[in-house]
Each structure stands twice: as C-alpha cells, then as structure tokens.
C-alpha cells in the first residue's frame, strides 16, 4: 500500500480503530449457557452441560484470584469450556466473584479449606461422582495443588482423580515480582490493611509493568497495523481486551499471604505451609497429574514450576512444555488446534469414558 493510499484511508482507519477501542466493553465473553449450582459469599459454582457427555468424571475449572474465570470461555469458537463440552466432558467452573472490603479478611486458607473444598463437594454431589478432574490455572493451579496436598487425616485423600495444572507458580523467587515485593522493606501487611482488598487495577498495572512497552504500546500499535492492513480481528481483540481490563480486587489477607508464600519464603517447596493448622504437603499428590508450562511465561516462568515434579508422589505424571505466554498458551488462537486436543486426549484416558 502506497503512502498516498494510506493517507487517503487514514480517516476511515482512524474511525474503525477508535470504534474498536471504544466498543470493547460491548464484547460478549463467557457466553456458553451455564447454570448456578452453588453459591457462598462471592463464590459461585457453575455447571456447563454437555449434550454429548461421554465421560463420567467431571472437570472442575479453577482460575486465579486475579482477573476473571471467563478466560476459560472467552468467545464462541475460542472457548476451552466449549471445546471440553464438545469432547463430552461434564464441566464445572468456580468463579471467585468480586471480593470487596468486607472480604478483606479472606485468606488462602479460606479459599482452599472452604471455598474450593466446598466447590469440589458440590461438584461431586451435582455430578453424582466420587472423584473429579481438578484443573487450575495460574494462582488457581497453586490453590488446587494446595488443596490436594492438604492434611485430611489418616487414610483420607482429596477426591481428585486427575490434577491438571496450567502455568502454575510454585516458587516465584526468580521472577521480577520477587524484585518488587520480595524485599522485607515492602510491608505487605500494612498495604493489605490500608487497602482492605487490593484494587484489581493496581494488580493489573503491576502485571502490565512487567512488560511495559508491549502492554502499554505494542498491543495498540499492532491493532492499528491490523486496521491499516485490513487484517484486524475486532472480536478477538475486544474479547481479550475486555477480559484483561476486568480485574476484581484481591482480598488483602490472601494477597499478603500469597506474596510471602510465593516471593519470599517459597514455603510450599519446603512443606511449611499450614492452613488452619493443617499441613500442606505436596507429596500427598498421588493422583494422575498433567502440568503445562509456557516457554515465554513471564508471570509464572517455567523454572518456578519445575520443583513441583520433585515434590509430588504421583506415578502418572506428564509435562507438556510448550512455547507461548502465560495466558496465550491456553487461550490464544493456536490453543484450539495444539494444546486443547492434547489435554482432552490425556483426560479421555483417565475419565472413565
């Protein structure tokens, strides 16, 4: 395209570009039909019914405490939930909701020992099964690992048949986050107390600051290039942009615990985490485990996940080391053809089909 052509097309391109940006909030995400199974405080358990259910073991999806779980069901044609339903799985999803100041006292113990424990219980009741597949992503994956490693008394184990961990941080001490918040000079308890629940916008800003030029400039420049060349996919951009901008607050107590556990003590590695007095020992994880790591993950870098394999006692362990970023690996346009079929294949062999 010549310079003159570009100049002539500039007004219409500028109009299209601003239209995409300004109507981002109108994009529909998480559109798959679902029903509420259970609610408690801010937490909601949803069920997505499969019309061609082939596997007995239900899949429970657990996302992080930051951002929204709609990333599992971004848009028709690019939805992990939709894909699993198509493959014949019975899919449930935990939504942590929008915790506010009144939830500031919620800690990781509340999320693991109450919310997740009860969500698992309700999933099993609703599906009529004794065990399920627990699928966690990001902090959600760490919460799932903690849930499976929780002391339940002699001879008792978590009712989890399969554990799928997507881009899971276990030791964050080597990440850039640790350089920001790993130092004792940064008083996490004080910040948590002042803020109550840490605003989602602040956490989003910190996440974006890990790659400032990419997040604050390149994303918009690429969209502009796409508009100019006629290759822009407004729907794809808008759904992802809307999801990225939707940031629920992080309950203060849980946030402070997370910083200490992940970026200061790495206490999960040392088996020193106790939730309500119950020891979290990852060697209790003896079920089938699938771990997926992303080569270009700057939020949960692969080396921070690798110690997990030395801690668990499972005999059936598989690691899919793929290229891609923290979110793009599972929600990107290539995931449908590359990663999701691999996950479905792994699950199919272990879900009593």
């Amino acid at each position: 395209m010549s310079v003159l052509e570009r100049a002539l097309r500039f007004p219409s391109n500028a109009l299209e570009y601003t239209n995409i940006l300004l109507t981002t909030n109108d994009a529909v995400i998480g559109a798959s039909p679902r029903e509420v199974v259970w609610t408690h405080r801010e937490t909601t358990l949803y069920r997505y019914r499969s019309s061609n259910r082939r596997y007995a073991v239900p899949v429970l999806l657990v996302f992080a405490l930051i951002n929204r779980p709609e990333i599992f069901d971004l848009r028709p044609g690019s939805s992990f939930v939709e894909f699993l339903l198509g493959e014949g799985f019975d899919v449930f999803l935990v939504d942590w909701g929008y915790p506010d100041e009144e939830d500031a006292d919620m800690g990781l113990d509340d999320f693991v020992c109450d919310e997740l424990e009860w969500a698992v219980r309700e999933t099993l009741r609703a599906s009529g099964q004794d065990e399920l597949t627990l699928t966690g992503w990001c902090i959600g994956a760490t919460l799932c690992a903690m849930y499976c490693g929780l002391d339940r008394g002699p001879g008792r184990r978590a009712p989890v048949k399969n554990l799928v961990e997507l881009t899971m941080p276990i030791d964050g001490r080597a990440s850039d986050y640790a350089k920001w918040v790993g130092d004792d000079d940064f008083d996490v308890d004080e910040v948590a107390e002042q803020w109550g629940s840490v605003p989602g916008g602040a956490i989003d800003f910190a996440n974006k600051m890990l790659k400032p030029v990419t997040n604050f400039w390149t994303t918009y420049r690429r969209l502009w290039d796409g508009v100019q060349e006629g290759t822009a996919r407004p729907e794809a951009y808008q759904t992802m942009a809307k999801w990225v901008a939707d940031n629920p607050p992080f309950p203060g107590r849980a946030w402070a615990q997370w910083i200490r556990l992940m970026y200061r003590d790495a206490s999960l590695l040392r088996g020193r985490v106790r939730l309500r007095g119950r020891l979290v020992d990852l060697s209790r994880i003896d079920m089938s485990v699938l771990v997926i790591t992303a080569g270009a993950d700057h939020i949960a870098p692969r080396p921070g996940t690798m110690p997990f394999f030395d801690l668990i006692s499972s005999r059936d362990v598989e690691h899919l080391a793929r290229p891609g970023g923290h979110i793009g690996l599972v929600a990107g346009s290539a995931a449908r053809k590359e990663l999701w079929p691999s996950i479905a294949e792994w699950l199919a062999e272990r879900s009593d089909g």
Partner: protein
C-alpha cells in the same frame, strides 16, 4: 529497484523496519529497567503511599458522612461482614443437613434390602 534487489526494500519499508527495531530495543530496555531492585523499591513505596492516601481519604469522607448521621462505607462493610458470618454458619448447617439426609437415605436403602 537496485535497493530492493539488495534486500534493502522501499524507503517506507526501511522506516518501518527502523521503527520496529526501535520499539523492540525500547521494550528490552524498559524490561531491564523494571527488573532492577531500585525500580522495585520505587514501586513498592509508591504502592504503600497510594494505599495510605486512599485510606486517609476514605476515612475523612466516612467521618464527614457519619457525622451527618448517614451510613458510611465502614458501616456497610461491618454489616456485610455480619452477613458473611451468618452465611458461613448457614452453609455449614446446610452441609450437615445434607450429610444427615444422605445417611438416612443410605440406612433406608439398607433396611429395604434387608427386608
């Protein structure tokens, strides 16, 4: 044309390549910058200050509001926490009821099987 054959491209392409190179260099430079401990300290202090200022502002507005005998944010939070505590208790009671109901159903089935 000679330039194009040599792989140099049109002036427009050259400008574009230069721009992308500059963008990539800037991205790397900024990533290095944010990974410095000094930047971390700056960010941490800023976060502490913003949190404190937010809290002070909220407290001041809340004080004014409550002196007007209107429910402030603190009152609403306190009320919400009480609701949460009640919901926690209700959830536990519901779970107990469900467990008892399951046990009774099991016993009933066993009795039926025996008779």
């Amino acid at each position: 044309m000679a330039d194009r054959e040599n792989g140099a491209g049109s002036p427009e392409e050259q400008v574009r390549a230069l721009f992308e190179e500059a963008e990539s260099s800037a991205a790397k430079a900024f990533e290095q910058l944010v990974s410095k401990p000094s930047f971390g300290r700056l960010l941490a202090m800023s976060a502490e200050n913003v949190a404190a200022v937010t809290r002070i502002s909220f407290d001041a507005v809340d004080l004014l509001w409550r002196n007007l005998r209107l429910a402030g944010r603190a009152d609403i939070v306190r009320l919400s926490r009480q609701l949460h505590r009640t919901e926690d208790k209700l959830e536990r009671v519901l779970q107990e009821v469900e467990i008892l109901r399951d046990e009774m159903a099991r016993e009933r089935d066993e009795e039926k099987a025996r008779s």
